[in-house]
């Protein structure tokens, strides 16, 4: 009895020790900065000197800050890439799932951008988008279309970034769908076929509902990721683009915090963004709960 409880206690200690490193990491590198920045958002901190408490002043300023509105709009606008990416990825996955020859090769090809460094990809696309010598415009030239200078035009800079983001994320989304598709039992399709449904109908009534959890996962993670989009614009349009047309919220936060000595204000934006992501994700989970059903 005594020995057993001793062993039990020992295991408890070991268990605690094992989770200690990540726990410490979480406390020091996530929780502490988070609380610190929430506190900072109520101050006029410049990132160097002392912090003076100014209540909701920063949040009030956000309300009338044109550039913040622009950055917020840009961030939301660039999320248009999410449905596009999902559609393309699902189509590709459906195609590959039919067992076309060379499936593995295609999977690799589509996955290469996913594992490439985002910075390298951004630099490469920046060259491709160059108005004079860029690959994109040279390609358009073949069809007699003279393309714009993508990154220097406020109307094309966002679509250009969306195209790149879709291209970059395609392989990852496709692979998730491919896995989901392969786990759908053939028997459903056979049953549907007996009932006279095939083609689009069987896709709509079987495939789409069956991959629903994956779709949900992709949408949630993409919206969270999309809200935090930064590296692309930092490299491709280091000043925020023509008329600030490609600046994202995180980009603006970074500019305020590290360029203009307004750490407190930047913290307020970060808190706003955090709350925004939290609320959107919460709504999505609620909606998912309502619509989900079990197929047994």
């Amino acid at each position: 009895m005594n020995a057993k409880s001793n062993l039990y206690r020992k295991e408890k200690i070991y268990g605690f020790l094992f989770i200690l490193p990540p726990l410490l990491g979480l406390l020091i590198f996530t929780l502490y900065p988070m609380i610190y920045s929430i506190y900072g958002s109520f101050t006029d901190w410049d990132g160097l000197g002392q912090m003076n408490f100014i209540g909701l002043g920063n949040f009030k300023d956000l309300w009338s800050d044109e550039l913040f509105h622009k950055a917020l709009f840009n961030t939301l606008f660039m999320m248009l890439g999410i449905p596009i990416g999902i559609t393309l990825a699902l189509l590709l996955a459906l195609g590959l799932n039919r067992g076309v020859p060379g499936t593995t090769a295609f999977r690799v090809i589509y996955y290469v951008p996913v594992i490439s460094s985002l910075a390298a990809v951004s630099i490469m696309w920046n060259w491709a988008y160059n108005g004079d010598y860029g690959l994109v415009n040279q390609f358009l030239d073949l069809f007699g279309i003279s393309g714009p200078n993508w990154m220097a035009n406020k109307y094309t800079v966002k679509p250009a970034l969306i195209i790149m983001a879709v291209w970059k994320g395609l392989g990852y989304t496709m692979l998730l769908y491919l896995a989901a598709l392969q786990s759908v039992s053939r028997s459903y399709y056979e049953a549907a076929e007996l009932d006279g449904a095939n083609g689009f109908k069987s896709f709509w009534h079987i495939t789409w509902p069956m991959v629903r959890p994956v779709t949900f996962f992709i949408i949630v993670t993409n919206i969270i990721g999309g809200s935090q989009i930064f590296t692309e614009m930092n490299i491709m349009t280091p000043t925020g683009g023509p008329e600030y047309a490609s600046a994202s919220v995180v980009f603006y936060i970074w500019q305020k915090a590290f360029g203009n000595f307004q750490m407190g204000y930047a913290s307020a934006m970060a808190v706003f963004l955090g709350v925004f992501i939290f609320v959107v994700t919460l709504i999505q989970f609620r909606m998912n709960e309502k619509q989900s059903f079990d197929v047994d």
Binding site: P21, G25, G240, P242, E243, Y244
Partner: protein, 465 residues
Amino acid sequence: MLKKKGWFTLLSLVLMVSVVLTGCGGKNNASSGGNSGSEATANAGSKDSKETKNLTFMFRGGTDEQKAYEGVVKKYEADHPNVKVKIVVTAADQYATKLKASITGNSVPDVFYFESGDLKAYVNSGVLLDLTSYVEKNPNIDLNNIWKYGVDLYRYDGSMAGQGNLYGMPKDVGPFALGYNKTMFEAAGIPLPDKDKPYTWDEFIKVAQQLTIDKDGDGKLDQFGAGFNVQWALPSFVWSNGADWLDATKTKVTIDDPKFIEALQFFADMQLKYGITPSTEQAQTLDTYQRWMKGEMAFFPVGPWDMSTYEKLPFDYDLIPYPAGSTGKSATWTGSLGIGASAKTKHPDEAVDLINYLTASKEGMEALVKAKVQIPNLMDMAKEWAADTTTKPANKEEFLQVVNEYGRVLPGHYTYNAEWYNLFYTDIQPVLDGKVTPEEYVKAEQPKMQKLLDKAVEQEAKSKK
């Protein structure tokens, strides 16, 4: 089961936990106890041999520049066996973030680069060491032999930048002179520009128009008069027309001045009316830069940092003053980057000594100039360097004239932050595209910029408390 593997498990756990804890311990020290990781290494070093003093030096630059500075630091170490310098280097675009993070994290490097525009903020928050007394008592530093323009950039008296105590030394000065393609002029039979008398705006347009040609007759221009990036070249036109972004008190945005509007109109007209530059959509720096290097452009701004690249150009180029507006005088932007020391450094004497070696010593300067990444900081050395007309560009003297006579610092330098100034360029594209007139633009933009400037002034007042 557990007993058998107990030893191993315990050992690995102890190892893991101790690694994590020491990591955190170091972090805690850094945030509570003044200096930094460099302090820890400094202490460790002093145990081994009493004299060794450790400094960290953080800087940025392209690969050529990194190599040049690393070489100079090595040389410094060889000359000063009691000092060890740990180098921290980043690419230019990551530098500001890294430096500001190290300040927030209370681990400021002993010696580091900083932007002249950030001077006030750093001084007011006690980040920068006041170098004045150290420089005065150091017999090796002769401030009179260093560009006054450069030194003054790092002076601050508590209210106005440009005067008072010294908080940094110029790493270099970067006079942004105007270059022209000499070979192209000769081929077209146009008299070469006078290196002592600037073109008027009208003359400049006329010459540039003569050199804007469709060579192969395909209806597309393949040679242009000029290519100017608005952010770096517009100040030249505004200043030479007697206008500026700020008034003398540095608290009022003055872009609605008619002289300013005139200069902005002229800048936009170079494309819209006279067509001497590639269309604005293509006027990205990279494109005009490439056109210049391919010999497709008559006039193009040239900085000293480009000299090593331009050596291999397939044509001859030289420097002239910028075309002058209504003041009759040229003006241009001259950049600079400062080297300062942390106010909390353990070894201020050695830190200042290193700064001196990098900015004001003959040995250090010679090595850096040889690498062709900058012009000499020392005026006597610069004169000698400019007198050598056998290397390109022949009229290097122009660089020195820019620094001594007509170079200026960007308006953001004078204010607590440059947000108000940057906004001007964020919104300017429609003006260059001819969709908004300069007059409408400055009217709409002035209040927005003023609001940001007011905020910066207010911030500055707070930071002094």
